[in-house]
């Protein structure tokens, strides 16, 4: 089978021509760097994305705290993760990198803060 993909690893956005069978990618053309090959393999069989959103925060100088999944998660989980995050309220102080929610939606991936919030 053949598929055209655009690599999303970096702003270059290489146009990839991917040949694959039921189990694996057999050839990738058009990638300017090795990450394009890895992306093609992932994207064909297990597409993943990093999800970023916000949670509510109390006691900080601002109202909502930006968070992200510490690692990419299966791409169709975006809305579910954002919904789960919308139910959370955290308290300042919190440091960028601190875990806000363990094992979000059973993915084994944590939701972490991406901004430091001192107590205001």
């Amino acid at each position: 089978m053949k598929k055209e993909l655009i690599c999303i690893n970096c702003p270059m956005g290489c146009c990839l021509e991917v040949v694959y069978d039921a189990k694996k990618v057999t050839a990738v053309k058009g990638n300017e760097c090795p990450r394009g090959k890895d992306y093609a393999a992932k994207e064909i069989f297990h597409p993943e994305r990093t999800v970023t959103t916000t949670v509510r925060i109390k006691g900080a100088a601002f109202l909502v705290l930006p968070v992200k999944t510490a690692k990419p998660v299966p791409k169709d989980l975006g809305s579910g993760i954002v919904r789960a995050a919308s139910k959370i309220i955290v308290n300042a102080p919190i440091k960028a990198g601190d875990i806000v929610l363990h094992n979000v939606l059973g993915t084994g991936v944590n939701l972490i803060a991406t901004r430091t919030a001192e107590r205001a």
Binding site: I8, G13, T54, T114, R115, T116
Partner: protein, 418 residues
């Protein structure tokens, strides 16, 4: 707070902080950074998505994470940052630069400085800039303002969204709103190609099956009180298609992602000359504007695609300001830079003979299989094949040494000889 400094930096985003840190690294201690917001970091604080830092840090960061690294370095290097402070005027009196600051903490103060770095960033084009006919209901916002509402204040701008313009901010907001449960019905783009990066077309539109109408525009806005629909019109050779080909999309919100304008009102007050093509200051190879002692970097100079490239420019600017302050900018002969075939603009306006030049430029339109050349009146300095070029991707090249005899430097893209 000192009222007399070596360098005053306006703006504490990646440009201002980058310039300040570079000044410190170059031994200039007496500097002050001012910013009108509550926190340092600039627009990065509302850009909660990832994709920042790939070039500079070799890892993928979100906007707030990228900003935090600069803010932390600034703190470690004892850079004084005065927040909630607006610069209301700049007075340039024969080499003495005075800035009038309005600060929540300090009140109205005058700060005299030997050098000034403009790092105010840019703002968004709005409905007034693009003149869409129709009524004037609520629910029409710029994409960046919607981003601020959602990511800084936790308010969704609406439920049924249409986005005009395919700039990166609009694309990022399409994904953000979809994840939050709003329905993004379409992204409408007047050009025949997307304004944003390919990766954002994929991960923000394709991932959610959001249609992208290229060569289409919004020809009418309808709604009383709140926007209720927009009329989408195909463009045929730049003109509106006949009414039969138009269609209507119901929506409660229209986001505009139709370009950015460097925010240069202050620069103009200081007498800085602007470039029509970039909307930023005309600068020499030290990023010094037409006013001696006033420098510019980041989005106030030219709208960048990446924070990484803003930081790079800011570092370069800080070094140049430090040289200026030490009296080391003894000028060599200036060699003007020219735009050649397919080049929309080139920055700086001139390089110095015998010295290094860092040149930024963008193509006018997308092109394939072209050859990028930089040449003088007598010789070719650089020749590079480019498989694809896009106006959405800025090019930046370094010429190690501008020839002493060059009358000019010209940057151009030529079709590849077959």
């Amino acid at each position: 707070m000192k009222l007399n400094v070596d360098a005053l930096v306006i703006g504490a985003g990646p440009a201002g902080l980058g310039a300040a840190l570079s000044l410190k690294e170059n031994g200039i201690e007496d500097i002050l950074v001012v910013d009108r917001e509550d926190a340092a970091g600039g627009i990065l604080l509302q850009c909660i998505h990832d994709g920042f830092g790939l070039h500079r840090f070799k890892e993928e960061l979100t906007g707030p994470e990228y900003a935090e690294r600069d803010v932390r370095s600034a703190r470690e290097n004892k850079v004084e940052i005065l927040l909630r402070t607006c610069v209301v005027d700049i007075i340039n009196d024969e080499g003495l630069i005075t800035a009038i600051l309005l600060s929540e903490e300090k009140g109205l103060v005058r700060v005299e400085t030997k050098a000034l770095v403009l790092a105010m960033g840019c703002r968004e084009r709005n409905r007034g800039n693009i003149a869409i006919p129709g009524s004037r209901p609520a629910g029409i916002l710029t994409a960046g303002f919607a981003q601020k509402m959602m990511n800084m204040f936790g308010h969704a701008p609406g439920r049924e969204i249409v986005i005009l313009g395919s700039g990166d901010i609009g694309l990022i907001m399409a994904r953000r709103l979809t994840w939050e449960g709003s329905r993004v019905k379409a992204v409408v783009e007047a050009q025949a190609y997307p304004g944003g990066l390919n990766r954002n077309i994929v991960q923000c539109l394709h991932d959610f099956d959001i249609p992208l109408y290229l060569s289409h525009t919004i020809s009418r806005i309808t709604g009383t009180g709140r926007i209720s629909s927009v009329e989408v019109t195909p463009l045929e050779h730049g003109n509106f298609a006949p009414p039969g080909k138009r269609f209507s999309l119901a929506c409660d919100t229209l986001l505009l992602s139709v370009g950015l304008i460097p925010e240069n009102e202050l620069s103009l007050r200081a007498g800085v000359v602007l470039d029509q093509a970039t909307g930023g200051a005309v600068v020499d190879s030290n990023l010094m504007t037409s006013v001696p002692g006033i420098f510019a970097c980041g989005n106030v100079l030219q709208v960048h695609d990446l924070a990484d490239s803003v930081s790079e420019e800011a570092g370069y600017c800080g070094t140049a300001v430090a040289r200026y302050l030490r009296g080391e900018t003894k000028k060599a002969r200036e060699v003007p830079l020219k735009t050649g075939n397919l080049v929309r603009y080139v920055l700086p306006a001139c390089a110095e003979a015998g010295k290094e030049a860092l040149i930024s430029f963008r193509p006018i339109s997308p092109a394939q299989d072209v050859v990028l050349t930089v040449r003088t009146d007598t010789e070719e300095l650089l020749r590079k094949k480019e498989r694809k070029v896009f106006p959405s991707i800025m090019h930046r090249i370094r010429i190690p040494r501008v020839p002493e005899t060059a009358a000019y430097l010209e940057v151009s893209f030529a079709s590849e000889e077959k």
